[in-house]
Subunit: 769 residues, 2 copies
Amino acid sequence: METARLVWSRLPHSEEGELDGVELLSNTSNRNGVDSLDYEVIENYAYREEQAQRGKLYVGYNVGVKWFFALLIGIGTGLAAVFINISVENFAGWKFSLTFNIIQKSYVAGFLIYILINLALVFSSVYIITQFAPAAAGSGIPEIKGYLNGIDIPGILLFRTLIGKIFGSIGSVGGGLALGKEGPLVHIGACIASLLGQGGSTKYHLSSRWLQGFKSERDRRDLVTCGCAAGVAAAFRAPVGGVLFALEEVTSWWRSQLMWRVFFTSAIVAVVVRAAMGWCKSGNCGHFGSGGFIIWDISDGQEDYSFEELLPMAVIGIIGGLLGALFNQLTIYITRWRRNYLHKKGNRVKFYCSKDKEYNDLATIFFNTQDDAIRNLFSAKTIHEFSAQSLLTFLVMFYTLAVVTFGTAVPAGQFVPGIMIGSTYGRLVGIFTVNHYKKLNIEEGTYALLGAASFLGGSMRMTVSLCVIMVEITNNLKLLPLIMLVLLISKVCILLVYSIWIDVLQNVLTLFPSQAVGDAFNEGLYEEQARLRGIPLLESRPKYEMRKMTAREACGNQKVLSLPRVVKVADVVSILRSNKHNGFPVIDHTRNGETLVIGLMLRSHLLVLLQSKIDFQHSPLPCDPRGRSQAIRHNFSEFAKPVSSKGISINDIHLSSDDLEMYIDLAPFLNPSPYIVPEDMSLTKVYNIFRQLGLRHIFVVPRASRVIGVITRKDLLIEEEIEDSAITELQSTSVRGQRHEKRLLVRNADAERPLLSGILVQDTDHTLS
Amino acid sequence: METARLVWSRLPHSEEGELDGVELLSNTSNRNGVDSLDYEVIENYAYREEQAQRGKLYVGYNVGVKWFFALLIGIGTGLAAVFINISVENFAGWKFSLTFNIIQKSYVAGFLIYILINLALVFSSVYIITQFAPAAAGSGIPEIKGYLNGIDIPGILLFRTLIGKIFGSIGSVGGGLALGKEGPLVHIGACIASLLGQGGSTKYHLSSRWLQGFKSERDRRDLVTCGCAAGVAAAFRAPVGGVLFALEEVTSWWRSQLMWRVFFTSAIVAVVVRAAMGWCKSGNCGHFGSGGFIIWDISDGQEDYSFEELLPMAVIGIIGGLLGALFNQLTIYITRWRRNYLHKKGNRVKFYCSKDKEYNDLATIFFNTQDDAIRNLFSAKTIHEFSAQSLLTFLVMFYTLAVVTFGTAVPAGQFVPGIMIGSTYGRLVGIFTVNHYKKLNIEEGTYALLGAASFLGGSMRMTVSLCVIMVEITNNLKLLPLIMLVLLISKVCILLVYSIWIDVLQNVLTLFPSQAVGDAFNEGLYEEQARLRGIPLLESRPKYEMRKMTAREACGNQKVLSLPRVVKVADVVSILRSNKHNGFPVIDHTRNGETLVIGLMLRSHLLVLLQSKIDFQHSPLPCDPRGRSQAIRHNFSEFAKPVSSKGISINDIHLSSDDLEMYIDLAPFLNPSPYIVPEDMSLTKVYNIFRQLGLRHIFVVPRASRVIGVITRKDLLIEEEIEDSAITELQSTSVRGQRHEKRLLVRNADAERPLLSGILVQDTDHTLS
């Protein structure tokens, strides 16, 4: 019966729309984009064969388009990364040559010029962000994570954000701030993917018609996942790390089909970046060499390690856990302080960048050679190249700077600063270890690497993907078990501190907002950032308290506003005005007078119907289920809005008093089978359904009166039966044919008995009246 | 209300039990192991505080035990891998030294001795498998995949299977068959994990009491996932590859929490193997050097590649796709042929190993140096070390042998044979490439590696994990993009061949079972093996046909057998005898006479109740909901059977005629909130729910009459609200306290109103009568 079910479109507000867990490739063959009961009837009577034909074709077309898009995302992100790196390196090159020329005449003048250039670069970045693309500030990873978790933050995937992110990154990294360009590259990849998915930016007239079929929410989300992987792959030249990062860190759910495409995108990025670098080697890119891309090859580092070294390595892990968690904590305080004081006073929301100016002169001394600094810190065969005193000074200053720079109004990645901090204390521990175990073959560079891993682990809490990225950027597989060990120790350390903090310190330090402190200790940097920005991420684990609650309790005493099947326009308007709910159950009545939940109607779809007005009817009777009128009045894209636009508001719609007296039959536009849970299901169970299927609404319903059937694994193994019979009979073709016919017969029988239109009574608007 | 909901135990038959998508750590604190309405009432009245206290403790205890088990799995699997490798290398060493001594006197005698030793080893392996542990035959990966997909194949996770697998592998690999030990190691890891999870083997009296808390199906499944990763990590010394393999290839669903533990297990394996090899280097392990473990270091291989080389590499990909798919296809024919002819004639089911004998003399020439052969094939700086003719001969013979050996009654991995075949034709292509592009710096070893990747990709269809494993065993990260490229071409090639085959050849070659051919071309080796063994894996993608079906249609015309709340023993027996269903809806009546589905009762739990008889009651009235009698009559482990035992059958239970006249109140033992879907939900949607949540039963229910509430993201963000208020008020502790109190009040209010016992009427057995 339910042919070509709707893949629910999601609308731009943060709580609207539905992430559907179901992949239906044939959605484009569904003419009006919404599935409906009436539509099914049409389908069953007249168009089954034609649809089946179209369906197969569309499947092929869609799969092809998906892979083509993956290719484009890979190429686009790779080129963006190359462009940023070439620009940054060239700015750095010009800066140095200019300064070098002037400094030979006057030291002070050179220094001033140097500072002025950096300030100009940083302020150009700040200007771009504050005036042009405010959504491009920060790393962007928390926002993308939120998007893939089901929350749409307006503006994050716009074309202007993409442009702002690219040029903002060039300015802030070129200007020498304590920032990296890795987070921004992830955001750039996601923007490219999203813009491709909606066929270009509508505002900038880049839309192309044939790509607009890609309106399904799930397809878009898959593309953005590919974009994230491409970003990481481009930033670190770590294709496997990119795939893992996308799966582990940004997506809420995971399918093995998606992995293939993500993988392909990463591979394309690797090839593009490699090709571009090969082209640049022949001198076409100005000052750009092979720098910029984060590759610190330590493949000639320490070959072996002895068990005595496990102790200092554990120490590194502990330091990493503590400093990482402390970093997160301090950034929380800084961000709160900014929010509470600077914002109130300054009145320019995103422009708390006086800090940048203040520290910039100092910062420039360190930062312009971040990549080189790390390369030196990691370097092997260089025992005691750095003195302990200078490392310690550097560590304290850089740590402070990184904390302060965090959250400023420029595109900012935390990866390179994290590696800087980590490798500094790692090298410090390495120095002490070399002094202590004099006879062993110890490389301080290895310890610097482990330090970097431990700090990133302590701060970002990535595990497998972090490991793989570290291995890929250092190009040394032998250190893998050590990196794993350090990451685990860092994690355990955080957990211990967390429980001590919660149990003991909470009672002592009532001055601090201890709940938040504990959470920060137990959460990664991205989760914490998301929390500070008010992005309501659903964590992977349900809260402990949920175990004691049922679905009904979670709903609280909320009044459920439901709509009748044929609803008066005035009622729709008053309901939409009275609340901010994004989904409404639609209730109908059977001939016996019993009520029946016939589906879920989204606010956004109601708004589209109110705006277009073409579905208004004078009669309060349901429209003819066999008419094809609804089907051709709308096309799919009307219901699927561009990702980051504001969408329609009820206040934008102007209805005459005649309009208000009209009726709408909702049956063609509702989602006829929303997800349901029984009222006394445990909330943990509901939480898992919600998160694993990526839902937006679940209906809590009373216990059922009867069970129509029990679906088990056997019922879902359709082809398997054929296969079995094929083995025994060796005549599968004919068996298959029979089976197919049988199924058609079943469907024919159903078609003779229209599902709802038979049992629904004709006057259906007394739910509201 | 629903405190400490049951984590459903799964019983040993292949369709019984429930994989619950919900993690409830406090399951051990649930005294009788089953959740029930009555139990909740008790809970709410008297034991809430005590339970809350215990709950917290148990959470800590459980998390600790889980990590400790991950540690033990890592150590156990690592040691098993070391033991197998040491044994195999020592057998090989003794064999060679003996043969070498004899061959100096007589060539023929030496050759005969050599063959005899190999035959003895292979036959000891065959004997172990056929007589002692039949479930240890083959690679074991399809069975483990099935287990994690929700199907329990009897015997695969027993202690005897573990022992059989270890010694069988030693025999078959030591005896020089065209097999690897990687698949078996995955099975070994899974066995160790499963045995730990159930507290040792019950049969061999290794159970220890304190570990038996680990009865939840989900925990066991997590442990087995860790075991799989440990197996791969041990086989290839590829810890990251192990994690990815477990996630990509074997599990049906994925949680980021689990990743941490899988990761830890792999790290432990790496450390254990490394430590053992360090110990062996000092000469403690006889003939064992560092061989055995699959590490073919080609880090000094080709540094760079030019774009002209992409053509031969694409050719390798195409060959890989074709030969890999053909391999799968041929093994299907061989297995079918064996099943149809050998089994019928020979009558010894698992002993079709006359083939081994026949080919063994030839095979021994090749196989004893499989690792060395691969090392030579991969080796750099050795242009034209092999002639094209010898490689071609080797390829044809080895390919044939691998096909024939496939599926024999010994533990068999396909990884090493796959690498052998792939690297042979890869090197062949490399030879031609070197001849053609004479001026380029081309290493034939690189081409051999790409060939190996392409063949494994064509045959096993792993992607990201395969990539990482290839990189980890060759210790060369620079080839990663090339490996990715080759894998993708191999995949695309298969898809093309598949569609051509389906569309064209199907009509021509009606002699072959073409449906099966097409499927095999489109499926990986493990899926195909699983299919041949009758393991009903749910694929990651729902079938195309499902789009046009609803949940109701999937149930077909099946009669739903439901039980009343208080059921007569005789009725239970007759229902259980009359069908093989594994779950029954339990229906009760309200005071108004309406029916109400109150839960799901599992066959296995009914059998336990029938066997123990202690819950039989004379009265057909529901038992007192406040009594604690049910709660203490059973303990949790009664309902959770050991993983691989046969379980109870209805025929094993003997009931007197008095017993048959008694009644059972099912309310304390049922699952009160099974998963439900509305009758007209699309089957693709149902499929995704089923697979993503890992379910065993879904109830198809009629459309609900009303909606109690709509759960949205906001309702699931309990802590977030506190956090937000903390930001503004900086007084989160007090806020939290208030909130907590409020929630308790809500629950108290509910507690005053027992959910079902109030609305249920007293006589409840007319569903059956």
